[in-house]
Structure formats: C-alpha cells, structure tokens
C-alpha cells in the first residue's frame, strides 16, 4: 500500500471528493459561467454584461425584492414563534409530554414541500375552500380570490412556510433549553424569580448562540424560497410572488436556456446568503465578546 494513504485519508477522501465535485466545483463553474454568454463550445467571455443586464431587468429587480419581502416577513415570524412555543414546551413539567409536543410539531418538516404546496393550492384555488372560508367569515368581499390579490398571495405563501419550517427550529431550541442545569432554576426560584425573569436572565443568555445559528439558517433558507411559490401561485398574480430562484429556474430550464445570465442570478443568491450569514456571525461574536 502507498505510504501516504494513511487511514486518516481513507476516512476523509470519499467525502472530500464528493463535496469537491458536487459543491465547490459547481460553485466555481457558476462563477465562470456568469461572466460568459452562449452555450457549449460557443461560450464567449463578456465581462460584467450579465450582471449589468440584471440591473436593467425588471423581472430580476421584482424577483429580488420579492425574495427580500418574503425573508423580512417569514424570518422574524419563525424566530418569534419558535421562541414562544419552545419556551411554552419548556415550561411543561412532564418530559414525555415535552417530547410528544416537539415530535408533533416536527411532522411538517418531514413532509415534502411539493405535497404541502399542492395541498394549499387545492385549498386556495378559485373555487377552493380557503377563499370561501374568508368570505364566510365576512373578512373579504364576495368576489375575493386570495390567489389574485398581491398581498393575499404573498401572505398565504409566507404562512405556509412558517407552518412548514418552524418545527425544526422549535426542536433545536427545545433541546438547547433542556440542556440547562435544573439546579439553576431551583436556585432562581428560591430567590423569588418570576417566569419572565427566568426566561430573560437564564434561558435567553444560554440559547443566544443557537438563536444566531437559527437566524442564519432561516434567512438563507427563506431567501431561496422556490417550490411554494412555483406551485401555489406560479409567481402570480402578475409577478407578485416571483422569487429569485423562480426567475433563475425560468432563465435556465424553461424558455431558451441562458446559462450565463442565470448563473449571474445564482451568484447574486450565493453572495446574499454568504453576506447575511457573515454579518449575523460577526454581530453574534461581537455580542459574545461584550458579554464575557
């Protein structure tokens, strides 16, 4: 056997090769393509033209702002909801009940996005249940169709995502809260601390690093929102729910494939995700340093 082929590298090599070929190589390839026009052998270097094109492309600007709108609605809702629910679960005394609740809330996370999106589409489609429910409650006029309203469609998709993804974050937060030493609670209660003070002074500081991680994950996931709007609204009404990934997919695989142009969109998505993660990470580590 080759001397350099130590067990270490037998263990590491398969994963490094797979990650290299299926993550980093495609990323470099996307960067390369984003500076080119054409396909296959007729690929021509065209400097920043794809990126300049994005700036004057109305559909791209709309898609970008829609992804931003979804992120700004969905991420805060998910974080607040997960915090409130996991704090409530944490207050339940029986460990078995805690596990049961966490497991039930996790069920949407193992459901295929295609399946729940189709379900919601069926409920929301013009003669569907959802619009009838809103009409029945007298919340909207008789001609209201949720999929034809800009904010109706957006909020519907936002609601679906919050419903589908929160269980994952609730699970992570619940386990983190359970790792807190129970003696600390007992001591706090002896000192007469209320639930609110315990949550603020004991639970919150311990889970703050995890909160930062969750915010990064939720932001990056939401910015890539795709299948929900592709199925439920097809990006409509008009372009009100068209997201960046919808637009990327359209440019690459439906009409005439424009790989260079769609790769420029891909790089924008990548850059935003990395920047947001980096900013949150830096903010979090500065915060940690201050509190030390």
């Amino acid at each position: 056997m080759d001397k350099h082929l130590t067990p270490k590298f037998i263990f590491l090599l398969p994963s490094l090769i797979l990650i290299g070929i299926l993550s980093y190589l495609p990323l470099l390839y996307a960067i390369f393509l984003s500076f080119h026009i054409g396909r296959g052998k007729s690929l021509v270097f065209n400097y920043f033209e794809n990126y300049m094109g994005l700036l004057s492309d109305e559909a791209f600007i709309i898609a970008f702002s829609n992804s931003l709108i979804f992120t700004l609605i969905i991420v805060p809702c998910i974080i607040v909801l997960s915090l409130v629910v996991s704090l409530s679960i944490h207050k339940v005394k029986s460990k078995q009940l805690q596990n049961l609740f966490t497991a039930i809330l996790f069920i949407p996370c193992i459901t295929s996005p295609v399946a729940y999106s189709l379900f919601v589409k069926q409920l929301a489609y013009s003669d569907g249940t959802l619009s009838n429910l809103l009409r029945g409650l007298n919340l909207v006029s008789s001609s209201y169709n949720i999929l034809q309203e800009v904010w109706g469609a957006r909020l519907l998709i936002a609601f679906v995502c919050i419903w589908a993804w929160s269980g994952f974050y609730i699970l992570i937060l619940s386990v983190a809260m359970n790792n807190i030493n129970p003696d600390i609670y007992r001591a706090a209660k002896l000192d007469g601390a209320t639930d609110f003070i315990i949550a603020r002074k004991i639970v919150f500081p311990t889970i703050r690093p995890i909160l930062a991680l969750i915010t990064i994950l939720a932001t990056s996931n939401t910015f890539q929102i795709y299948i929900e709007s592709a199925i439920i609204t097809k990006g409509g009404p008009g372009m009100a729910t068209l997201t960046l990934v919808n637009q990327l997919y359209k440019k690459s695989f439906t009409y005439v494939a424009q790989y260079g142009y769609s790769s420029a969109i891909a790089i924008v998505i990548f850059t935003v995700c990395v920047l947001v993660s980096g900013m949150l990470f830096i903010a979090w580590s500065e915060n940690e340093a201050e509190n030390r």
């Binding site: 990650i19 996005p113 189709l118 009838n132 269980g167 386990v175 790792n179």
Partner: protein, 271 residues
C-alpha cells in the same frame, strides 16, 4: 410555585399550535373519503363514505406512474441515505479522532459548503452530469441527494460522546484502524446512525430542485417529481389528489414516528 391556571393555559396553547400543525393531514385524511364535487369550495364535507375511498383509490392506482414513483423514491432515498451516512460518518470520525490544525481546515471546508445554496449550483450540476452522460440516471440522483456536509457536522458533534479509551483498548487487541471504525465505533453510535439515516432519508425523499433537473423519463420519476407534474394538470381530481398527497406523506411519517426518540435526541446534539 407557579399557579395551576398558568400551566393549564400553557398546555392549551401548545395543543392549539399542535392542532394547527397537523390540521392539513386531518383534512387530507377526510378528503380522500369524499368526492371532488362535494369538497370543492366546502369546509364541511357532506359526502363521506367508504365507497368513495375505494373509487378514489382505484383511480389513483390507475395513474400510470404513481406506484413506480413511490418505489423509485424509496430506492433512491435508501441508497442515498446509507451511502451518505457511511461516507459522512467516516469523515466525522476522522475529524474528531485525528484532530489537528490541517485536518481542521478540511473540516471547515466541508462545513462551509453548507452555505452554498442548492439553487446557485443548479445549472452547473445539470451541465456536469450532461457532459458525463449521467443525466436521467439514478446514480446522479443518489450522488446529489446525500446531504454529506450536514451529516459530517452531525457525526462530528456526536462523536464527542465516543470514549477514546475504546480505541486504545481495541489497538491493544490488535484491531486495524478500519476495523476499529466498523467493529467498535459504528456499534457504539448505533442510535446516532439510525437518526442520521432517517434524517437523510427524509431529505432525499422530499428533495425536488435537483431531481427535477436530472430526471427526464417519466418511469424514473421520484414521488416528489410525480406529484409536481400531477399538480400542473389543472383538471386533476381533487379527492384523488388528496389521497395521493396523503400516501406520499406516509412513508417518512411512519419512519419518523417509529424512530422519533433517536431523531430528536440526535438533532438536539448538533447544538
């Protein structure tokens, strides 16, 4: 001591949230005993009967690619999760056991690849498989469904529980490095393996973005792609669709309910 009423209100609140979480499954469950005509636009289903269920079932089974899509998903997800967990756990093991500065760089490189959005590499992945003539093959699908970076992190975090004395003991017994991994490490971390296999199975079962680009032949479609194509037919029967959604949701759901204890514990370990 907390007042009793506060506890009751708290539990009631959680129960309401849980009901909202599972309501869609209940609606799917009721809808498949009904007919399209009676569900459309209604909240209360009037026409519920077993014979409706039978006829919905029959028309779903007549859907040419439904059953084959379930089997394809099962096949692809099983191979992807087993392969991914083996590769990732080997790496997670090595990153903890042989920890050094150089090795740590490799770990960070694996870890940060999680930051690359799937959407951003969609076109390159398509082109790479096109040039290697692997488009429309299960091999391409399995390779892209493995979620290795996340699993490496999961195993690295959970390997902290593994007592290193076991390794020195096994070395004294004359076991090679590879057999230590297979005969000592894997049995010791069995619960983590079960959970990791389940989590990556769910990921593979539910993934849609890359599979839709890779697969082209209808008979190879996974369940998610099949549903996706069913959804674009506007005339699809409402009640039959609900039955299809329910059945497609069941395999991951049943696996989750069986192994939920392991899964929740292991997922918690990633903190």
């Amino acid at each position: 001591m907390r007042p009793k009423t506060g506890d009751t209100a708290n539990i009631l609140f959680i129960i309401v949230v849980c009901i909202v979480a599972v309501l869609p499954y209940l609606i799917m469950g009721i809808s498949c005993f009904s007919t399209s005509a009676s569900i459309k636009g209604n909240l209360i289903f009037s026409d519920i009967s077993l014979s409706n269920f039978v006829s919905n079932w029959d028309s779903l089974m007549n859907e040419k690619y439904f059953l084959s899509s379930l089997w394809n998903s099962f096949f692809v997800s099983t191979l992807a999760s087993l392969g991914g967990v083996l590769v990732a756990s080997m790496a997670g093991y090595a990153y903890t056991i042989y920890s050094s500065k150089k090795i740590n760089w490799l770990f960070l490189a694996s870890f940060y690849s999680m930051l690359i959005p799937t959407a951003a590499i969609l076109v390159p992945i398509f082109l790479i498989f096109k040039y290697t003539n692997l488009l429309d093959t299960y091999l391409a699908l399995i390779l892209t469904s493995m979620s290795i970076p996340f699993l490496i992190y999961l195993f690295k975090q959970n390997t902290r529980l593994f007592p290193t004395e076991l390794i020195s003991a096994a070395k004294i017994d004359g076991l090679s490095e590879l057999s230590i991994f297979f005969k000592v490490y894997i049995p010791y971390l069995k619960p983590v393996y079960i959970a990791a296999i389940m989590i990556s199975f769910f990921n593979a079962w539910n993934s849609i973005l890359i599979p839709v680009v890779i697969l082209q032949s209808q008979y190879k479609f996974t369940n998610a792609i099949f549903l996706n194509s069913l959804g674009s037919i506007w005339s699809a029967d409402y009640a039959v669709m609900m039955l299809a959604l329910l059945i497609s949701t069941l395999p991951p759901l049943v696996l989750f309910l069986i192994f939920q204890r392991h899964i929740i514990k292991t997922m918690g370990g990633i903190n």
